[in-house]
């Protein structure tokens, strides 16, 4: 047999398709990958250490920068955990505004994923179409809370801004516009034979491995496990909306693509109902003392972010600063399965599989 020599290839940290500063030390024999070892920590900013001497309102701008593609869900994670620990009551209007902005953010995050995923596989145009539609969501956020990416919109006990006049109808219009756009995406990508060839039957793992590795979000649902925190452990007012949880069968990359596109459609459904049932009056901020003194105790609350279960574990000693704040970051768990998926694949599949698990390095390194 021809003696082949293994070669160490450094993929990243500056590499066009690692979605951030992830470094993969890949041992390859020719083009097939023998072993891959992710090296992370290039974007570690020590949020958890900083949080220990910031009071709860000051932590919120820091959470925007963890999963910078869906900052609203990060805001909600810490605000929801604090409210749960304090047993606070959130007014109706604030709950509706929160659900609307979180679902809009989920759609924006999935659009970014779909755009960059197609770019990894080689098609240039879907990336631009995805960002064109996402631009509309960012404009909506810009009108609501004054920022496009780092919203800092939620506060313990409610939300900072009320919806400006006419904003809710703009959300309604966007929902109709986005439904038409979905056919364009399905026409351009779903039927594309080359895309199917590149993604069907690749990066398959079964239900047990997914649960073993603690995967969550679309990565877990793609193996047939119907686990969506909005349904299984409902928080906020998600029980009032009926939407279903898309679940895949085979667990390959094509299923992940279909699952995430279906999740966009489900979020559109939620948005439609939320806009319909939006309460007229009501305040956006519950009764919250001037200086937040969170009672002593410990709590872990998980919510469904576009990448999976985003949990917030707060240990408080009755002060206005958390004693220990730990974020359960879905991308950190989802990235662990990469080495086992990559064994025996080739370089082109490495890029496709890495894109498929949809990680954001700001969240992995926290």
């Amino acid at each position: 047999m021809l003696r082949t020599e293994e070669m160490l290839l450094n993929v990243g940290p500056q590499h066009p398709s690692t979605h951030g500063v992830l470094r993969l030390i890949v041992k390859i024999d020719g083009e097939t990958i023998v072993d891959a070892e992710p090296v992370i920590g290039y974007l570690h900013r020590g949020t958890e250490k900083l949080a220990e001497d910031l009071n709860y309102t000051q932590i919120i701008p820091y959470t925007d920068r963890m999963d910078y593609l869906s900052a609203m869900t990060n805001n909600y994670a810490i605000v929801h955990a604090t409210e749960q620990l304090m047993g606070l009551e959130i007014p109706e209007r604030a709950e509706f505004l929160r659900v609307i902005v979180m679902e809009l953010n989920r759609i924006a995050s999935h659009l970014v994923w779909m755009g960059t995923y197609l770019l990894d596989i080689g098609a240039m145009s879907p990336f631009l179409y995805a960002f064109r539609d996402r631009e509309q969501i960012l404009n909506l956020f810009n009108e609501l809370c004054g920022a496009r990416i780092t919203y800092n919109y939620m506060r313990v006990g409610g939300v900072k801004w009320d919806a400006p006049p006419g904003w809710i109808d703009k959300v309604g219009e966007f929902v109709q516009y986005m439904k038409k756009q979905m056919d364009e995406y399905h026409g351009l990508i779903t039927g594309n034979e080359i895309f199917i060839q590149r993604t069907k039957g690749i990066g398959i793992y079964d239900r047990e491995t997914a649960i073993q590795f603690g995967l969550s979000g679309a990565n877990l649902r793609v193996t047939g496990v119907k686990w969506d925190l909005r349904k299984n452990q409902p928080y906020s007012i998600y029980e009032r909306f009926d939407f279903d949880v898309p679940v895949g069968q085979t667990g390959d990359l094509y299923d992940k693509y279909l699952c995430r596109m279906q999740e966009i459609v489900e979020s559109l459904k939620i948005l439609e109902q939320a806009v319909e049932q939006f309460p007229e009056g009501g305040s956006t901020m519950g009764k919250v003392p001037r200086v937040l003194r969170v009672p002593e105790g410990e709590i872990y609350v998980g919510i469904e972010s576009p990448r999976g279960e985003l949990g917030c574990h707060i240990v408080s000693k009755g002060k206005d600063k958390p004693w220990r704040l730990k974020f359960r970051r879905p991308s950190f768990y989802n990235l662990q399965i990469l080495p086992t998926l990559l064994k025996g694949e080739n370089i082109s599949n490495l890029v496709a599989i890495l894109g498929g698990i949809d990680i954001v390095l700001g969240e992995v390194d926290c």
Binding site: S17, N192, I347
Partner: protein, 324 residues
């Protein structure tokens, strides 16, 4: 006469360089429009000087040769890649009179010379002593070789119909019927194989941005990098003109509209093919290496052989034989 021998090629060189600059700009504009954006419009009116600015930038860029690179091969690679691209244009009959070299084996000359570029790319990938470049070089060698054969096989159908390799005669044989209609299968195989020869999407594996960063020309900077880009776009020029000559009847006017001069017809058909190449680049994702190989050997080659067989059979049938 020998004055023409010198001025002609220089003139052609300038035309081709002019084409290359505006083809790059046209490509970026077309892909821009397809993606709902404007495309380059900052440099010069409507961005017309954009490519000129790019080339100028590449000229004044520092010309780095990696320390551990194989010096002489590193310098030679772009030359090997570019020269065949330009030499191939000698044999293309633009119109009745404008042709630089009209010899009997024009098509064979084209196919032979165009495969020298593979060596240039392989040497470029190997000499820059960079893992990504090596991978890019390996991939492009495998791809070009495996697509050279269906490319040549698909053209045999035309040669059988015309009975000669001379491009001039091939165009003359298409006075009444262009070969795209009788040889449609051959045309399809030829088009796909030519896209792969040009290393363009969906076959742009050697310089797959998202995987190999930039494939074989990752270590090239400055004007050497410009040479590789030049070679690629001159090949677009050559391949598009060859497709026009072989399948779209060169300078023959469709349905007898001969009042428009033949050179204009040639340019029209030529730019249709070029637009199609850009259009495909904006839409298609990239094929994987092993799928690429299977596609070449298990799909294109059998199709090309079947085409030859069908042409041979149809030639014998009296009624429709005259088309073949």
């Amino acid at each position: 006469m020998n004055l023409m021998m010198v001025v002609g090629p220089v003139l052609l060189l300038f035309i081709v360089l002019g084409f290359v600059t505006y083809a790059i700009l046209f490509e970026r504009k077309v892909i821009g429009w397809i993606q709902n954006r404007i495309g380059p419009n900052r440099v010069g009116p409507w961005g017309l000087l954009q490519t000129v600015a790019d080339v100028f930038k590449l000229l004044i860029k520092e010309d780095i040769i990696p320390a551990k690179a194989d010096e002489s091969l590193f310098r030679l690679a772009p030359v090997i890649a570019f020269v065949p691209a330009f030499a191939v244009l000698a044999v293309i009959p633009f119109t009745e009179k404008i042709q630089f070299a009209d010899f009997a084996v024009g098509l064979l000359y084209y196919m032979a010379i165009s495969s020298i570029t593979i060596i240039g790319i392989l040497v470029g990938g190997w000499a820059s002593n960079n893992k990504y470049a090596l991978l890019g070089g390996m991939r492009s060698a495998a791809q070009m070789i495996s697509y050279e054969i269906p490319l040549v096989m698909s053209v045999v159908g035309i040669i059988m119909s015309v009975g000669s390799l001379n491009l001039h005669e091939i165009v003359e044989a298409q006075q009444k019927v262009w070969f795209i209609f009788p040889q449609f299968v051959g045309f399809a195989v030829f088009l796909i194989a030519s896209i792969s020869e040009l290393n363009r999407t969906p076959f742009d594996l050697p310089e797959a941005e998202s995987e190999l960063v930039a494939g074989y020309h990752v270590e090239y900077t400055g004007f050497r990098f410009a040479f590789f880009m030049l070679a690629e776009y001159v090949y677009v020029f050559a391949m598009a003109s060859l497709t026009t000559v072989l399948y779209l009847g060169g300078w023959n006017a469709p349905f007898g509209l001969t009042f428009i001069p033949p050179i204009v017809w040639f340019i029209l058909k030529f730019s249709l093919i070029v637009f199609f190449l850009f259009w495909v680049r904006a839409t298609m994702p990239r094929i994987r290496v092993d799928q690429l190989m299977q596609f070449a050997w298990k799909v294109l080659l059998p199709l090309a052989l079947a085409n030859i067989f069908i042409t041979a059979v149809f030639k014998e049938i009296p009624v429709i034989g005259k088309f073949y």
